[in-house]
């Protein structure tokens, strides 16, 4: 059974910017055993989406569907079973483990909470989980301060796995780590997906990481989706102009030919200035004209699984971007 999240979360008055919702008109789905990467710069609303799915903030509009069940509910009103199936891993491993608890307590708590096991059995569960994330079972007696950043992130993964989830929400979980450590955790995530049939919603701004882990990619700009597709499709032309900018911004060991690289670096919208119909229009190197400011761009289908939201049709983008 496919699991999906057609969703339109919007943060309401409770958030700091009442005039402009953090996320608008975002809709996507994730199948079992699939990794969907959500890509975008900071402030694009990636974490808002994760928090909405986790039930930590309520969308003002739209729906979240999990296993055919409407889950547009705050965490307090979700069933325990649902909370168990969706688990969250956050960016900063230093802040996500209680510095006053030993690892057996950190990892043991979800076991106790969801499965009501304690004592020996719980301890065995903790040991198994530590081994699953390739840490020694003896680590359970340590404090988080005894661990390196990479080890802490493995513990955070083990804590999420303790609930035996179906969907793991990974919010920038590699960005605080060294590249060498990232590789180890990437391999671990791949192994976990193969072994447990887990679905990942993987949030990242690191395109190399996304390319190596994701099956599908959704590109987010200022709270709106601008491109959705399979990882190969998104990573080759035609690109949405914003996706193109993202790739250009990546440092490349051997720079390519002359391309339009003079992208205006982010113009912040000030005060009462109207939000353009296409949020990327003010920065877009391929802006067509005033239509971009006035008319919301349509979704154009490149293939059955690949869609780009731009006034320039996919075929033309491909021609422009062909090297």
């Amino acid at each position: 059974m496919p699991r999906g999240y057609p969703e339109r979360p919007q943060t309401g008055e409770s958030d700091q910017l009442p005039a402009k919702p953090a996320v608008r008109g975002v809709s996507f789905s994730i199948s079992p055993g699939e990794t969907l990467a959500l890509v975008g710069e900071s402030g694009s609303g990636k974490s808002t989406i994760v928090r909405a799915i986790a039930g930590l903030l309520a969308p003002t509009r739209g729906r979240l569907v999990f296993d055919g069940q409407d889950i547009t509910l705050p965490v307090e009103r979700r069933t325990k079973e649902l909370r168990r199936q969706i688990q969250l891993i956050l960016q900063n491993p230093d802040a996500s483990l209680n510095p006053r608890h030993r690892l057996w307590r950190i990892i043991g708590r979800p076991i106790e909470f969801f499965f009501r096991t304690s004592g020996r059995e719980q301890q065995r569960g903790v040991a198994e989980l530590l081994e699953t994330v390739q840490l020694d079972a003896g680590y359970m007696w340590r404090m988080p301060s005894d661990l390196s950043g990479g080890e802490r992130q493995r513990v955070a993964i083990a804590r999420a796995l303790a609930a035996r989830p179906k969907l793991l929400l990974c919010d920038e979980i590699l960005s605080a780590l060294d590249v060498s450590v990232q590789a180890g955790i990437l391999n671990l995530l791949r192994a976990l997906q193969a072994g447990h049939g887990l679905s990942f919603l993987f949030i990242s701004h690191d395109l190399a990481v996304v390319r190596s882990l994701a099956h599908r990619v959704a590109v987010l700009y200022q709270g709106e989706l601008c491109e959705v597709g399979g990882v190969r499709e998104v990573f080759s032309p035609p690109f949405h102009p914003y996706t193109e900018v993202l790739f250009r911004a990546q440092p490349v060991p051997a720079p390519g030919e002359d391309l339009p690289t003079d992208v205006p670096s982010g113009s912040e919208l000030e005060g009462e200035e109207a939000v353009p119909a296409c949020p990327f229009a003010p920065r877009c190197p391929r802006k067509v004209g005033s239509i971009c400011d006035r008319v919301p761009p349509p979704w154009s289908t490149v293939s059955a699984t690949h869609a780009i939201r731009c006034h320039i049709p996919g075929g033309e983008l491909a021609k422009l971007q062909a090297i």
Binding site: K80, R83, L88, L90, N98, P99, R100, H101, P110
Partner: protein, 277 residues
């Protein structure tokens, strides 16, 4: 011995030992004190210190040493139970408001602002002169003053922790507010609570001593140090020991308490808020 506590400053260790001594006297004093604290004419009035009366006798011929020893239990019981009650309620309130935030926090904090603006001594005198002096009332009054002050400090400490990701994770798991408060938050603010308890115990000793001195503490002939200082005051020239002994008792409790708090706070990485009252 020092090797057991390598991280504690020497002053805090010495202070700690003196505090242990106070505790031992309070617990066992009545077993070995030479005389009853309230029996009059166990010796000549105003007898100077001697082997029979280590710290002399007072105007009624009561043994000052025995009274000081018995007084220890009174002073410690009153100040520790007042501080304990105040810190317990204040810390719980601070933890709850710091976690809940929102309108509850706003309302409670404004009430706390009002409570803090009441001058302690004046209200204490008012309450006790209206309702009569009793040890229980004294304890409740001191606790009442401590609740808002401790709540404010613990709330600030809680606010620093509550935004941390491990709290978010616990919330996403669906942990109850109670469970988050005592499993996730409390272990991170317990240092603050301990420092508050230690520093406020010292204040409580002084405050309760002052109340005793003004006649608003336990009634005579209870061997309470503040009361003893007041009663001996008239005869300070003929029998200075009757004033000095209980005064030294108070000082030898308050000064080590402050030194010990200082060391403990440094060890726990907390600030020492000496100006706070």
């Amino acid at each position: 011995m020092l090797a057991w506590f390598p991280e504690w400053p020497l002053s805090a260790l010495i202070a700690g030992s003196i505090l242990v001594l106070h505790g031992v006297i309070a617990l066992t004093g009545p077993m070995w004190a030479p005389y009853s604290p309230t029996k009059i004419l166990v010796g000549q009035p105003f007898a100077s210190p001697s082997t029979a009366h280590l710290l002399g006798t007072d105007n009624l011929g009561r043994d000052v040493f025995s009274r000081v020893v018995y007084g220890e239990r009174t002073v410690l019981t009153l100040s520790l139970s007042a501080t304990g009650l105040g810190v317990l309620c204040g810390a719980s309130l601070g933890l709850v408001t710091g976690y809940a935030r929102g309108w509850l926090d706003e309302v409670v904090m404004r009430i706390i602002d009002i409570m803090i603006s009441i001058p302690p001594l004046i209200l204490a005198l008012l309450v006790i002169s209206a309702l009569g002096s009793s040890p229980l009332l004294l304890v409740l009054t001191v606790a009442f003053f401590y609740v808002p002050r401790v709540a404010r400090v613990v709330r600030a400490a809680t606010l620093r922790v509550v935004m941390e990701d491990f709290v978010t994770i616990a919330r996403a798991r669906g942990e109850s507010a109670w469970s988050i408060a005592h499993k996730e938050l409390l272990p991170n603010v317990i240092g603050t609570v301990l420092v508050e308890f230690a520093i406020r115990s010292g204040y409580a000793v002084i405050f309760i001593g002052s109340m005793g001195f003004l006649g608003f503490g336990p009634p005579p002939p209870t061997p309470e140090w503040g009361l003893m200082v007041n009663q001996g005051r008239e005869y300070i020239v003929t029998a200075p020991w009757a004033v000095v002994a209980p005064a030294v008792g108070i000082a030898s409790l308050v000064v080590p308490l402050n030194l010990f708090t200082d060391g403990m706070a440094r060890l726990l990485g907390q600030s020492v808020p000496w100006e706070r009252h």
